[in-house]
């Protein structure tokens, strides 16, 4: 049987430059999933967008055919005119994008945006179109389709918006669905559910899917065929099982080695010693008050964090894991004194010499001194460096603020730090745009180290990076920690990253720490349903370990749906119980 879509010798170039996609071939048949895998800049996104001819204005398809076989006839998508192309888009070939937050128009109701596809292609109008849309909404898992129909995108969570996007892509019953990193911006548990939904829909409708991703775990869970791309060329292509179990190409192997994994082997983690803590959070809580919409109603209180007790031993790494909205970032902000905890909470910083600092209650001079010993590495290396400052100025700025050394001392220090993070000192005169994402994250680490801090708070330092770069940054962070005896408070949503770097992990859910243990213990013997869900939702690059959606659904649901021992409702959570030394779980005794 002929494949539904076969792309032959596709090349794409920007202007007269060397092509960024060169002679790419792939094919996908009905009912099958093809995964395009690669890192940023590999050309995977351009290749899949070329199929719908949604390319940046300067990019041009310079050669190749894209044959779409719709049964009666075969059409070359590269040759169709704009009007013919519009009939294909959204109708026989539809697409889902990476960022559900921004891929829907903020000013139009979801119902309007989804129905539009039917108005354009299905010939359905008014009530008939609405009925079709409501059916699809129900199918993709909206509990109240009518309500969703009338909602605006900003009223939905990220996962729900991605479901709306899927509904929009599915509503005209396409033959081919192109999904460009559909779950990268979502939490792991949400990602697992969305992937499950896409697979179900495919089984029902028999459509073909092209899945663009950088995550080999997602590939293992979804795809029958794999195309691995690097720098615009296909490195390796074929059926998924052999490639995933025994990659032939060196680049594929490298990708596999870089992918972080949750360890499987049984190991007993030693509880970290409590003797020499550098940072302590004692019954820390944070309540935000939302301004009430009307003057006569009481303001809404939001519990971002409650009852957090954490201890970070000197020279160790404490990881806080949770999905967006779990309160992990609020906890980190309070640890740095950027946010004051509610009355009664204490944040204590113990420097190696000198007095304990009460971080929750600092005056200006204390704060200045504290900032010298506690620094932060931010998530997004693209926006955390000023594009208008040379690297040298960015690096020496902290020293200027704290009046450390003279000009040449500062420059020497900047040289030293650049070498420490693996960059060359002759880069000092450059601007940030001259660096790649990984290099920028190195720079931002170098900046955090300029004041010789003792404590580093890393807020998702690798989540904006490619897997292979992520691997390098983690190695660098470990190396620096051991060389300079630093202590890390490591915030992440990715258990696999944490598994590698942390000495102790605290899992947070809705402002509460639900389980806390050394990583080996936590992954080998997880107790809390939410921890289990997080572990189960993590896509593994192993086709024999598919995501267990049942575990995910149970643990990631609301606390009312947890098993008896863990269930609670409202704010009356059970206490954190010590199960074995160093392993604490929030459960009823």
């Amino acid at each position: 049987m002929k494949p539904l879509l076969s792309v032959e010798n596709l090349s794409i170039a920007f202007g007269a430059q060397t092509p960024v996609v060169q002679n790419v071939n792939f094919a996908v048949s009905s009912g099958e999933t093809l995964a395009l895998v690669g890192e940023s800049g590999s050309g995977k996104t351009l290749s899949c967008r070329a199929v719908l001819r949604i390319l940046p204005r300067a990019a041009q398809i310079t050669s190749g055919r894209m044959l779409l076989n719709l049964g009666q006839e075969e059409r070359d998508l590269a040759q169709l005119n704009d009007r013919q192309m519009r009939d294909i888009r959204g109708n026989s070939v539809s697409m889902i994008f990476q960022e559900p937050m921004r891929s829907l128009s903020p000013l139009h109701k979801i119902g309007n945006q989804v129905s539009e596809v039917l108005w354009l292609h299905g010939g359905q109008k008014g009530a008939a179109a609405k009925k079709t849309v409501l059916d699809v909404f129900e199918r993709v898992g909206f509990p109240n389709p009518e309500r969703t129909f009338r909602s605006y995108p900003f009223e939905l969570s990220g996962g729900m918006r991605q479901r709306a996007m899927i509904a929009m892509a599915m509503v005209a019953k396409p033959k081919l669905l192109i999904a460009d990193e559909p779950t990268t911006a979502l939490d792991v548990t949400t990602q697992a559910q969305v992937l499950g939904l896409m697979k179900d829909l495919q089984r029902e409708t028999g459509m073909a899917m092209i899945l663009v991703t950088h995550d080999l775990g997602v590939v293992a869970n979804m795809a029958e065929h794999v195309v691995v791309m690097h720098k615009g060329r296909v490195m390796e292509a074929g059926e998924a099982p052999p490639i995933l179990t025994n990659p032939a190409h060196a680049y594929t192997k490298a990708l596999f080695d870089a992918a972080p994994e949750i360890p499987e082997q049984a190991a007993v983690g030693l509880p970290a010693s409590r003797e020499d803590p550098i940072l302590e959070l004692k019954s820390v809580a944070k309540t935000y008050t939302l301004r009430a919409g009307k003057a006569w109603t009481a303001p809404t209180m939001i519990q971002a964090c409650q009852g957090i007790d954490l201890t970070l031993p000197r020279g160790k790494t404490l990881a806080v894991v949770g999905e967006s909205g779990s309160g992990k970032t609020t906890a980190a902000r309070m640890a740095l004194g950027a946010e004051a905890p509610d009355q009664g909470g204490e944040v204590l910083f113990h420097p190696a010499q000198g007095e304990t600092v009460q971080v929750h209650d600092m005056d200006h001079p204390t704060r200045l001194a504290f900032q010298r010993s506690a620094q932060m590495v931010f998530q997004d290396p693209y926006s955390s460096l000023s594009p208008r400052m040379r690297i040298q100025d960015t690096l020496t700025e902290p020293l200027e603020i704290h009046h450390v050394g003279n000009k040449s001392d500062r420059r020497d220090k900047a040289n030293e730090m650049l070498r420490m993070v693996g960059l060359s000192p002759d880069m000092l005169k450059r601007y940030p745009h001259a660096f790649s994402g990984g290099q920028r994250q190195r720079l931002s680490i170098a900046r955090a180290l300029m004041l010789d801090p003792a404590l580093l708070v890393c807020d998702e330092p690798t989540s904006a990076l490619d897997v292979s770069v992520q691997e390098q940054i983690l190695t660098l962070l470990e190396d620096i920690r051991d060389r300079k005896n630093l202590s890390y408070l490591f915030i992440s949503h990715d258990l696999a990253v944490v598994a590698r770097i942390a000495d102790e992990v605290a899992v947070m859910r809705r402002g509460l720490v639900v389980e806390q243990a050394p990583p080996e213990t936590l992954f080998y013997n997880p107790q809390h349903p939410y921890t289990k869900a997080l572990i189960a939702a993590q896509p593994e690059p192993d086709i024999n370990r598919p995501i267990n959606l049942k575990l995910v659904a149970q643990g990631a649901g609301s606390p009312e749906a947890w098993p008896d021992a863990f269930r609670f409702s409202g704010l009356t959570a059970p206490p954190l119980i010590q199960l074995e030394p160093g392993h604490k779980v929030r459960c009823h005794v």
Binding site: R89, Q98, L104, H108, F154
Partner: protein, 341 residues
């Protein structure tokens, strides 16, 4: 209904602002030492015309100018009974112009409506020119369409208005037989409204509208273009294309809707800047708008006249911002639903 309540609330704040503005205006008018009448009395006494002095003294008591300032303010606004009972701004009595020796309402009368007319025409011109050109320049960015419209726009921004007015008058008259100066043919002045009078006014409006509106239009066009370009790079535009929408429909339904916000928000700023900006143009073009009156009144410390004109401009500004605020709430659900969750 939420939107109705919001409109009422906005109207309330507008009245409050207007009240504060009235205090400011009254204070500013009274800042320079002396007033029109005391200046006049001093002048009359110096020349020995005692009959005039008596009349001026009479006017002083008539308009309560012999009372303390705060009482003058209260009487002017109509919060407090004056020599003739409650008779101030809120009762519709705008006072007496000493300079022209006539009630303010009579002097301002027609020119008030002409001001509104000229400026509304200019605002309409701004929007009608800026909207299509801005969208077009963004959709065809970095092509000759974009460059030409930018060039013409900057030319419009950079040319002084009075110069533009003179040029347009000359060529308009020469090639299209457009009338020069004024807002209507002299024969229709004080004549009752008729079709011919309307036609004459419309013909006379062409050049002033163009002159007053050009700089606003080119500025707004550039702003809309920049907003549109920002929006065109957003992922939801890609989503719309992937649906199979035709380019024109896609542009107007999605990015334009989002880029429209600042466009609407500008209404409030546009009105007052045009009224005050068109004073010079009105003098040059000989338009019977309120601008020249204001200039004259401020120069001669004709307090009731200048006070009224300033209040009128403030009212226009406030109405403009109110209209744009309410429109924004209607247009943008994100604003409408803020604080609901």
């Amino acid at each position: 209904m939420g939107i109705l309540r919001y409109a009422i609330y906005r109207f309330g704040t507008m009245l409050l602002t207007l009240w504060v503005v009235s205090i400011l205006i009254f204070a500013i008018i009274n800042l320079p030492p002396g007033d029109f009448l005391s200046n006049q009395i001093a002048e009359l006494q110096a020349t020995g015309q005692s009959a005039g002095v008596a009349k001026a003294e009479f006017l002083r008591t008539e308009y309560a100018l012999d009372k303390p300032l705060w009482q003058q303010y209260m009487i002017w606004m109509g919060f407090m009974p004056g020599p003739h009972g409650f008779s101030g701004m809120i009762q519709g009595n705008f006072g007496w112009s000493f300079e022209f020796d006539a009630p303010v309402s009579e002097i301002v009368g027609d020119s008030l409506w002409m001001t509104v007319l000229v400026n509304l025409a200019a605002v309409a011109f701004v929007y009608m020119v800026a909207l299509p050109l801005g969208v077009l320049a963004a959709a065809r960015s970095r092509t000759w369409v974009d460059y030409t419209s930018a060039f013409v726009g900057y030319l419009g921004l950079a040319t002084p208005n009075f110069l533009l007015a003179l040029i347009l008058f000359y060529y308009g008259h020469r090639y299209f037989n457009l009338p020069i100066g004024g807002l209507m043919d002299p024969i229709y002045e004080n004549a009752p409204m008729s079709w011919d009078k309307v036609k004459s006014i419309l013909l006379h409006l062409i050049v002033p509208t163009f002159v007053i509106g050009t700089s606003g239009a080119s500025a707004m066009m550039q702003r809309l273009r920049a907003n549109m370009l920002d929006e065109l790079g957003k992922p939801y535009v890609e989503t719309a294309v992937a649906k199979g929408l035709a380019p024109r429909k896609m542009l107007t339904k999605y990015p334009l809707r989002v880029a429209f916000n600042p466009f609407v928000a500008d209404i409030g700023n546009l009105l007052p800047s045009m009224v005050s900006g068109s004073v010079l143009v009105s003098v040059v073009l000989g338009l019977q708008t309120i601008g020249p009156d204001l200039l004259q009144a401020l120069k001669s410390q004709d307090m009731f006249l200048s006070g009224f004109v300033l209040m009128f401009v403030a009212l226009l500004t406030l109405i403009g911002t109110m209209v744009s605020d309410v429109l924004l709430v209607l247009l943008d659900p994100r604003i409408r639903y803020e604080g609901r969750k």
